[in-house]
Point group: C2
Chain length 728, copies 2
């Protein structure tokens, strides 16, 4: 591995101080002259027809300017309606927007929303997988409530089970979990009456997707929509376009800027949480722990809209272990709930909860080392996935080695003797390579100005500064990273899939190298020296070893404002190898259990993860610890609950349980291993998503280790644990 000066050193996040002190401005801080404040009027029913809407009282209130309904916007919808606009005639989930009140203040808009009279005729709702799949169930949409995709298969599943010495089989259930960013969704939209386009300020992970969705709804070229991404107060996969098209349409209809900042209650009722999932899985193994067969049926409740998540879930179930015979189906089930979205490592906590429980059970049954069984069956470089792609080199063995050596693992039987259980789980998260784009210029203060088109959800800007600094030969403090808006940056992908550091990072390095070459060319002319003899040292260029005649980088920049030098403009445009860079994350959970209440308490959580090359280890550890805490939420606390009538029972943070500081493990340990990826610049792998994946499975396996019971439903609440203990 190359030796680095900055990469691999702990660095504070560039925007950390601004975030901590409150100096950072978010989208909610933006006020344009003449702005109208929007408030959603949401359906109180999960399924109903809209009989009548009477705006009279609401419009008479002071400050209320306009009220839009589905009927109002229908003639303006260019392409097709969807559930994220305003309901037309019918609502299919509680919280669905039925009207939009626009007023001179947020309070007036709320008043208007409270005074709008809407008559509904309630219809029977289906709220669960079973209800939705029952014969004669009310249909969520006319094409039917469930649809099973093409199975993920390998080998011959019959043959596989025939070869097995043991077959274990269970049904797992995981609930709807919300991303729960500290900042809710928010946007401000300024219409442009000339082009018919708009400018959108949005807290988004995907400015270019906001641009295309808004343009599509408005029926204008995407070039007439400018999206200015604002700093994110949390993303976690939830900050993709939801209400931007609606607010853009409203702004254009009223000809004024419109601002919508969701309340916490709206956020919980009507955004895009993780889907509820049921997995029935059956795993067959030989006596020595070799897995030979896996069949699974996954049912993914994506609420009132279909989604890409079911097929992704099936693919993940089939491709975690090198099992010769696999047959996995995934069924997309619709219910009268809000449409699902992506949540950090979508569906993967469920997948690993199912697979790793069964595997753990097999190891226990044959009294094999659970770690060795996992390692033996883990995917390896060159293994063929069900989509025909091949698994690339991973750091699995390094992760297993670190887990095996850890005292928590080594002393697990001693711990058990003291009333503490120790569980393990391991996951692969497949990170894809994509094209990347970056630009950089040089300022007259000698600082490198780096422009990228991807949002920063996880501290990537700081990593980019370090990568550019390393390449260019300056300090990371002398790099300014700017996230461009869609009109001043080139087309870029979204900040998602743990891909940003890997892919945009490659372009950053290319741009910095290009800028450096341009600087060296100028210096070579100034010094009348060969370009190979020029170096950048202490913020200056010099002929190697001749610091006396050094020229400051800022002075080089000044020279580019006059003849005969062109401005410094480094460019990074990288292609993808098309191959993946798998990230392996393994976790150990040490727990104790109150047999009288069923309460599980996690004492230690050890997170081992392969970062490929950790650009900013402090930030990698931050992502790992944060992911682990969210994983504890999945394991023990979090769920969006609805009653049979479709009413959300957990519509505030008073009701929705997230782990607070005393509920997370008192000790979270993060161990980075570094096995450089084969197909990535510097060997970088992704970081953000993997650490949330194995936690629930590790905690469940710890409960099994201690108490001998297998929990199959998340969250593992005291009552569920207690009941399992009783049933034992």
């Amino acid at each position: 591995m190359a030796t680095f000066k900055h990469i691999g050193q702990d660095n504070r996040l560039a925007d950390g101080q601004a975030k901590i002190t409150g100096a950072l401005r978010f989208v909610a801080d933006l006020h344009l002259r003449g702005t109208l404040h929007a408030r959603l009027v949401q359906s109180p029913y999960a399924h109903a027809t809209i009989q009548q809407i009477d705006k009279t009282a609401a419009l008479a209130l002071p400050g209320v300017v306009a009220i839009l309904t589905g009927a109002d916007i229908k003639p303006h919808i260019h392409d097709k309606s969807d559930l994220r606009l305003l309901a037309i005639e019918k609502v299919t989930f509680m919280g669905q927007a039925v009207a939009l009140v626009l007023a001179e203040s947020e309070a007036a808009a709320q008043d208007g929303a409270d005074h709008l009279i809407i008559e509904y005729a309630e219809l029977p709702a289906v709220m669960t997988l079973d209800a939705a799949m029952a014969e004669d169930a009310p249909l969520v949409n006319e094409k039917g409530n469930s649809r099973t995709g093409k199975p993920d298969t390998r080998g011959d599943i019959q043959v596989g089970f025939a070869e097995a010495d043991i077959i274990v089989e269970r049904t797992f259930e995981t609930p709807i979990v919300h991303q729960n960013s500290l900042e809710t969704h928010g946007m401000v939209v300024q219409p442009d009456p000339i082009s018919g386009g708009v400018t959108v300020w949005s807290a988004t992970q995907a400015p270019f997707d906001v641009r295309s969705e808004v343009a599509e709804l408005l029926g204008v070229p995407e070039s007439d929509v400018r999206v200015i991404p604002t700093p994110l107060g949390g993303g976690f996969g939830g900050k993709f376009p939801i209400y931007e098209p609606l607010i853009a349409l409203a702004a254009r209809m009223v000809g004024a800027p419109v601002r919508l900042i969701l309340s916490r209650s709206e956020e919980l009722q009507a955004t895009n949480p993780a889907p509820a999932i049921r997995v029935h899985a059956k795993m067959g193994a030989k006596k020595d722990g070799t897995l030979v067969a896996l069949s699974a049926e996954a049912y993914i409740d994506t609420g009132a809209s279909r989604s890409w998540l079911p097929s992704f879930t099936g693919w993940q179930l089939a491709n975690q272990y090198r099992i010769p015979h696999v047959h996995v189906t995934a069924t997309n089930v619709l219910t009268h709930k809000p449409p699902s979205g992506s949540y950090r490592a979508p569906c993967s906590p469920t997948v690993i909860f199912a697979l790793d429980t069964l595997l753990d059970e097999i190891a226990t049954h044959f009294d094999l080392d659970p770690l060795a069984v996992r390692q033996k069956n883990f995917m390896r470089e060159g293994d063929v996935l069900t989509d025909g792609e091949r698994y690339s080199l991973s750091g699995a063995d390094a992760v297993f080695a670190a887990l095996a050596q850890h005292p928590v693992w080594q002393q697990r039987e001693a711990s058990k003797a003291h009333g503490r259980g120790v569980g393990m789980a391991v996951a692969t998260w497949m990170v894809g390579t994509q094209p990347g784009m970056a630009n950089c210029g040089l300022n007259r203060d000698g600082k490198l100005q780096l422009n990228v088109g991807v949002a920063d959800v996880s501290g990537v800007s700081t990593a980019f500064a370090m990568m550019a600094a390393e390449t260019f030969g300056i300090s990371p403090d002398d790099v300014r990273v700017v996230i461009t808006d869609t009109a001043s940056g080139a087309l870029s992908g979204m900040a998602a899939g743990s891909m940003t550091t890997l892919n945009t990072g490659a372009a950053v390095i290319q741009a910095a190298a290009d800028a450096k070459q341009q600087v060296l060319e100028i210096a070579a002319r100034e010094f009348e020296a060969a370009i190979e003899d020029i170096e950048i040292v202490n913020g200056s260029v010099q002929v190697r070893g001749v610091p006396d005649k050094a020229i400051a980088l800022g002075e080089i920049a000044s020279k580019t404002l006059g003849s005969p030098y062109a401005p410094i403009l480094g460019r990074g445009r990288t292609v993808s190898s098309g191959e993946n860079a798998p990230v392996v994350c393994g976790q150990l959970a040490e727990i104790e259990l109150d047999a009288e209440t069923g309460a599980v308490r996690v004492l230690q959580l050890v997170i081992v993860q392969d970062a490929g090359v950790a650009i900013n280890p402090a930030s990698v550890r931050g992502q790992m610890a944060g992911g682990g805490v969210q994983g504890l939420g999945w394991a023990l606390y979090e769920q969006l609950l609805y009653d049979d009538g479709g009413q959300l029972l957990t519509g505030s943070w008073m009701d929705y349980a997230m782990p607070h500081s005393t509920q997370t493990a008192p000790h979270i340990e993060t161990i980075i291993v570094e096995v450089p990826a084969a197909n990535s610049t510097l060997g970088v792998r992704g970081v953000g998503e993997p650490p949330v994946i194995p936690t629930a499975a590790a905690v469940a396996n710890a409960v099994a280790h201690l108490a001998g019971v297998r929990l199959t439903e998340l969250p593992m609440t005291p009552v569920r644990v207690y009941q399992a203990l009783q049933a034992q």
Copy 2:
């Protein structure tokens, strides 16, 4: 000359409709949350010491938040104070800012300003060149009131005058003229408490200069200052940094966004108008009209600060005609008036007024064709200038030919017989070549997104779109030009010197060609064809002559979001040849004269100008006509007048005479000639400044033609003309 599809066609300005309908947002339309409104408290004296400032009453007013004075800001000034901050102890011009009132509304700020009690001790002021240069004159600054620079010389002036058959000699005076943009100076500054830097929204011709001046005052790296240029409601050389550093400092001191939009009265009192100039010039010629000697002393009253304008004036006097013996001095004189700045073709109207009057007088004396005398003596390619540079190829002969053929010129004696005078003047404006920068990307709607770092004062964005469209092979409507802010674009020059289309345009063409090459490479792979066989037709790429399999450009853009294609990112970085691209502008004025009142009325103004290659002829003609109207202002109407005590007598548009619609020539004719420049991409020359230059001289020569009197003071008001006629 190459044949173009778009270049050379008349195109509407891209932002024209938005400007006309009022949809365009200017800096005054920007309101940030928590903004404090600023109002300057200006000195009522031209020269005084500040004895005492009492803030009590002003601070007690509702809405007034803070009042800053020179004493308050002194400890925070990092580098050096200047007259554009707040006066410390002393004021040296009327209108100088003595305090800044910050309040919750503009009205409250004005109230505060009205209630601030400031005691001054008035000092004697020098208001004129003569007063300033008198012995024992009060000093404007301690280094003395006048300073004469190194003369511009050629040959031996004694020898020159000895060879002359005639010597003419006159003293010319031109007043302070204001740029008078429709939009006054304005800015909003948001402080960043973390970095100590700021974000500045400013109506500026020079965002990168605002950045460096603000950074210097604040003592932060320029990379910590982000300047977002707002659309300009007029520039004319006046929109360079004045109050941005002060407002940035104030915003940082109070920790809130601060907004200052100058009132018209503040704009007239305390910005940066053209300097008053006196030129004493003496010209010697042979009988055949050959010029042999020119001596001149120019006195430039730059108000209370020294400037680069005097030496520029001297250089221009020396380098308009190929005179073998030249001796020109320029003296910078300080007075107790606001510091001068650049005004469209700085000082050049005065230079041509002087030179072209004397030349006209020589031609008349020997009864020579005034046009032929000009043409004979005009600078030609290869002539050496007083700074050692050489004059490049110009379109002078084409301009003279167009003037000679024009009916207004051909029928001048018939016109005179009917009581109408016809005058001519011709000027060269030297346009420099500079490095340029541009970027372009491709959007999924097939539109080219072009980013430049220079402000648009004169419609250059539309020209850029045409240049990019021509190069790339699409329609100008499918190019979106975005002016980047200083944080998302590379270091660029200012929008000034008529250089923008020439220099940034070269980079635009390079960037579009680069992007096209990238698109063709992708298409070649998609079609499995040679890159030479690919063409862009109707917004699609296709194998030459095979439209059936065409791929839309937008689809190519979409492909770059996935493997194996890199994003389209065309880059333009151009160097300068170091040579100039002189622009020649000649004008004919036909006038009539009321001998009883002295009133001059311009009947026709013919403007002939070499554009090199006119990218957008409609825009070039617009610049030419607009320049001519401003030239009529110089000739007949405009002046900032002060009384002896330093009080501005023309502090509003009620008092300051600008030509209104009935006062401009009833017929303004614009004739573009095109002699491509040797050292410029496409042959483009500058356009914006030259048309203001010759107008005053042409009108004066028309008065001489008709009435035989030589006017030597601008503006040629009725009383001056009447007195000249009486003195005859």
